[in-house]
Subunit: 205 residues, 2 copies
């Protein structure tokens, strides 16, 4: 009974998890590069170096592959939140999150999913791991947002949900690729420019 939660995984189970991790990493990269619709299961199999039929032994559908990649990203985000110094001001915590999000995108590791695809939405909302991670993240960010608004660091006239969505939207910001394609700015410059426009806006002060 090594599959019990908390029990030490057997060697075989470790190999299985390592293989599935390799699959999810490949899916993650392909989702970032081409998006869900353009990514094919054949490409995933080729990238991992196994047969397509073997893929389907691990994940029952293309949607589940994408969901697993999203779970990985969400858990990475949640883990990052835990590394943020607790003594930072709430506003600085939020800026750190946005910087991290942009870095993931620039590293080619941010999956891009079509927001309207219903079968994909079903796979995501049906994934306990995904929903849980997303809720943890939203709760944490929500607390920081309210604290920042209470202290006057964030515009208190904006509904917190608007702030939250605006931060989430930095994770799929097309400005990044445009700026990168222009070739006029380094990645660090791009990060600071986007953080600036996000928090300070375009107006001068």
């Amino acid at each position: 009974m090594n599959s019990v939660v908390g029990a030490k995984p057997s060697f075989k189970e470790q190999m299985l998890l390592a293989r599935e991790e390799a699959i999810v990493v490949a899916v993650n990269r392909l989702l970032a590069e081409k998006g869900f619709d353009a990514m094919t299961v054949d490409e995933v199999a080729a990238a991992v170096g196994i047969a397509k039929a073997s893929l389907y032994k691990h994940f029952p559908s293309k949607e589940d592959l994408a969901a697993a990649a999203m779970v990985r990203v969400m858990r990475g985000a949640r883990d990052f939140l835990d590394t943020i110094a607790p003594d930072l001001l709430p506003l600085e915590k939020l800026k750190a999150v946005v910087r991290w999000t942009i870095q993931v995108q620039l590293a080619g590791e941010m999956p891009s999913l079509p927001s309207q695809n219903s079968s994909l939405r079903a796979a995501l909302t049906g994934s306990r791991a995904y929903v849980d991670a997303l809720m943890e993240i939203s709760d944490c960010l929500g607390r920081w947002i309210e604290a920042a608004q209470a202290s006057g660091a964030l515009n208190a006239r904006l509904p917190p949900i608007v702030v939250l969505y605006t931060l989430y939207a930095r994770g799929c910001d097309p400005v990044l690729e445009f700026l990168r394609a222009g070739g006029q700015h380094s990645d660090d410059e791009i990060i600071e420019l986007v953080v600036s426009t996000c928090f300070d806006g375009l107006n001068s002060r």
Copy 2:
């Protein structure tokens, strides 16, 4: 020789143009609803009410259909720019453009194209009408941006190209659909919230 530029179109030619306009309108709506990859040519044919083969008599490929829809949108944007009162302050002109962009999106008339699809990019960059309209728009917005920066209304430390891309990005802002799905805000409220976060940022002043 009624196809000469400026000549009065014959009745037949008017019918042809009207039919193609109906096609492009349907494509525009489907592109806004489902995106390029998820939209099928069969759906377009069904929406217009003609056979798929007939579609291909008007447009040689799916990419050309999407390009025609984009040309329509770009020309609409360019025409809107011309309606903006010349005596407005540059900053107000830019805000008016963002409001218009958001309204188009909320009306379900903003095509969503995958930014990485190369065959689609080729069709767009190969369309004289598209490139011309895009350049006219960028030139106009660029002038307003520089004027707003010169007058101190816009943050002059931001490269104008960053401002331009940030404005363009409002055309595919996922915040809109999130807020709409939440059901807590009217369209007018959503517009003002997004305009506010775009120009004023999230920080308080």
